[in-house]
């Protein structure tokens, strides 16, 4: 029984060189805790982002770890898409020694985890949570990584105005920060640039009956030429299905959460729907190379830009540890906060001068014939972006 024997000898060694062995291990290893949804409503967003992060950490570990020095041990725990459960697993990860925390793609669970990491000074990054209020609600350890809702909304509004749209109907849901605020940010920019909000409607997340709201839209005296919503799965498919089913052909615009295979698979139903992404893989771009590498790594092509965003989180951490020159959480935090024009895969990423929601490019996409077509990529003018 060779394996047992080896185990025995290893135990003996550990006993003899106990203290020394433990201290060397901690000097070379850095634990990153990932409190992410493997099940439930956020899983479709967290899982691709986490896959990207894993890929970059695997690559970095092969080159010696973060900053070429600290081998990453990634501990992953399932939040089940539940805010309270996120806090529980975040605590478990902290207890396990996490020096960096990764949180789900949504503001509420990220804030609940951030409230635990903030007093300890552990830098905390949301995978693709994009609510601009997210970082302010926690404090200086909390970082967004994805283009913030107000940045995305400004990009979409800029585009709508450039298309000559004049009147918008905003469909929101009070059930999440994202669905409640993003269309309102759009409305602010749109009004400032000469557009008008002709109506507002609400929906409850997870309830597929939109018939009453759609009848209201049809009955509007002042017909909108655009519907803006941040609804996503499973609400967005239900909305667009029933909207088109009721014979309403008004274009519908949304944001990043509808850039998914599920929405794309709706085919003709979503023709003309505009959404956003963290980047677009132009031929010869770094993103295209990433997509190829990811496909090789994961066995399937990236589903969205959440994969590359997750991958860039690894790059950001690597750069931060390099700058900090240590695995001290506070030093790493300061290094992230000071990043300026960092070359990611999708473009330049800047934290310096922001409230920890990065400035980075937004790609505008449009579904046509069952495919997401790139429309344009832009970094909105900071002056246009509404305050959170």
């Amino acid at each position: 029984m060779p394996s047992l024997y080896r185990l025995h000898r290893a135990a003996l060694c550990a006993a003899v060189f106990g203290i020394a062995a433990i201290s060397t291990a901690s000097a070379e290893e850095i634990i990153i805790g990932a409190a992410t949804a493997q099940t439930g409503g956020l899983a479709p967003y967290d899982q691709p982002a986490l896959a990207g992060l894993r890929m970059s950490l695997d690559e970095l570990n092969a080159k010696g770890g973060l900053g070429g020095k600290y081998t990453v041990k990634l501990l992953i725990k399932d939040t089940r898409s539940d805010t309270a459960q996120t806090a529980t697993v975040a605590q478990e990860l902290i207890d396990a020694g996490a020096k960096i925390m990764i949180t789900p793609c949504d503001a509420d669970p990220s804030i609940s985890a951030g409230q635990l990491t903030q007093p300890l000074g552990i830098p905390t990054l949301t995978l693709c949570g994009s609510a601009p209020v997210l970082t302010g609600a926690v404090g200086d350890v909390m970082f967004g990584t994805y283009p913030a809702d107000n940045v995305q909304a400004t990009a979409v509004a800029d585009f709508a105005v450039s298309e000559g749209k004049k009147k918008v109907f905003l469909l929101t849901s009070p059930d999440s920060t994202y669905t409640a605020n993003l269309p309102e940010y759009f409305g602010k920019v749109f009004e400032k640039k000469g557009g008008a909000i002709v109506g507002r409607g609400t929906f409850s997340m997870g309830q597929p009956d939109f018939s009453a709201e759609i009848t209201n839209i049809k009955g509007l005296a002042d017909k909108p030429d655009l519907i803006m919503t941040a609804a996503y799965e499973p609400d967005f498919p239900a909305f667009i299905q029933q909207l088109r089913g009721a014979g309403v052909t008004i274009p519908v615009y949304g944001a990043d959460a509808i850039g998914t295979p599920t929405i794309k698979a709706l085919g003709k139903l979503v023709d003309g729907v505009v959404y956003t992404a963290a980047g677009y893989a132009e031929p010869g771009s770094k993103l295209e190379a990433f997509n190829a590498a990811f496909t090789k790594y994961a066995g399937h092509a990236p589903e969205s830009t959440y994969e590359v965003n997750g991958y860039e989180i690894g790059l950001i951490l690597d750069q931060a540890v390099k700058t900090a020159g240590s695995d001290d959480p506070k030093a790493i935090r300061d290094a992230i906060a000071g990043l300026k024009d960092f070359e990611g895969i999708t473009g330049k990423i800047t934290y310096a001068g922001t409230d920890r929601m990065p400035l980075r490019p937004v790609a505008l996409m449009r579904y046509e014939g069952g495919e997401g077509k790139h429309v344009q990529t832009l970094i909105p003018d900071a002056a246009d972006v509404p305050a959170p």
Binding site: P44, G206, A212, T215, P237, Q241, R244, G247, A265, L266
Partner: protein, 293 residues
């Protein structure tokens, strides 16, 4: 516009009625609120998706989906609930929660946590127009299917021996057995019917939401439960009345509440439910049950 909102309300109410009826049928016989009823819907939804992906014609896909729901319900009774027969109401309830959670995990891990788009045929997303007035094909189908299902069920319960035995069993199960009618036949039929209703409701539900996902059964089973309680738990006419009432209230509130109050819609609906129960604690149409010492 008012006429359209009424159609919307009846259409939604019909789906709730089918769901509530599925819960009520099983409850009336075995005293179990089957919270895994929603997962029967999910299963039917996936069966519909699979059939469409395999290229079956739409009517065949619907048939496959509905049969899957019905068979799964019977299997669920056989595997999970039959061994628990005679157990307390609480144990049965917990068993149904366990079945529900288990199936959700199986769907998540076996299929995908991500919603899968279901492409319903084009004609189902069209609309009829009469001058100014348009009615969606979807809501119309929903109303017709609900009505036909309710009529078919009523005929079955009134005319057939098994149906009559089920109505009797809802009142006094032991005496039905004294008539020589096997308990397992009654219970299996109750689950079969509830599965059929779940399958039908799933088709209507999926036609509306255009996707299926592992958690899609949660909201409908909750609505069905509310409708069944409002109507009178275990009463079949009550379940239908409760379903329509809930659908109508939800749509009318959504249509008329001013924006500032709209987020409280569900709270208002539930307050209404409490009000109904305060006035009629046994529900709108209480179930008949044998009075025994």
């Amino acid at each position: 516009m008012i006429a359209q909102q009424i159609i919307n309300a009846v259409s939604l109410g019909g789906v709730y009625a089918l769901l509530a009826l599925g819960l009520a049928i099983v409850f009336s016989i075995v005293g179990l609120i089957n919270f895994a009823h929603g997962e029967l819907m999910t299963l039917s939804g996936y069966a519909l998706l699979a059939s469409l992906v395999l290229g079956f014609p739409f009517p065949v896909a619907v048939l496959v989906a509905v049969s899957c729901g019905a068979l799964a319900a019977v299997a669920m009774e056989r595997i999970a609930f039959r061994p628990m027969r005679g157990a307390s109401v609480t144990s049965l309830l917990l068993t149904s929660f366990a079945v529900s959670s288990l199936l959700k995990v199986v769907f998540q891990n076996g299929i995908s946590a991500r919603p899968q788009a279901v492409a319903m045929p084009g004609w189902m997303t069209g609309a009829f127009s009469f001058g100014d007035f348009t009615i969606g094909v979807g809501p119309s189908i929903s109303i017709v299917v609900s009505a036909l299902a309710l009529i078919a069920l009523e005929v079955f319960l009134r005319r057939s021996v098994t149906g009559t035995a089920m109505r009797a069993a809802a009142e006094d199960f032991d005496v039905v057995r004294l008539m020589g009618i096997p308990a397992s036949r009654i219970i299996a039929t109750a689950f079969l019917l509830s599965g059929l209703l779940a399958g039908l409701a799933a088709i209507l539900w999926v036609a509306q939401r255009a996707s299926v996902d592992p958690l899609m059964g949660f909201t409908p089973v909750l609505k069905a439960f509310i409708a069944a309680v409002v109507g009178g738990l275990g009463s079949l006419p009550g379940a239908v009345a409760g379903g329509f009432l809930l659908g109508i209230i939800e749509v009318l509130l959504q249509a008329t509440l001013p924006g500032a109050i709209a987020p409280y819609r569900d709270a208002i609906v539930l307050s209404g439910v409490i009000a109904v129960l305060l006035v009629r604690p046994q529900g709108l149409i209480p179930a008949v049950r044998a009075q025994r010492s």
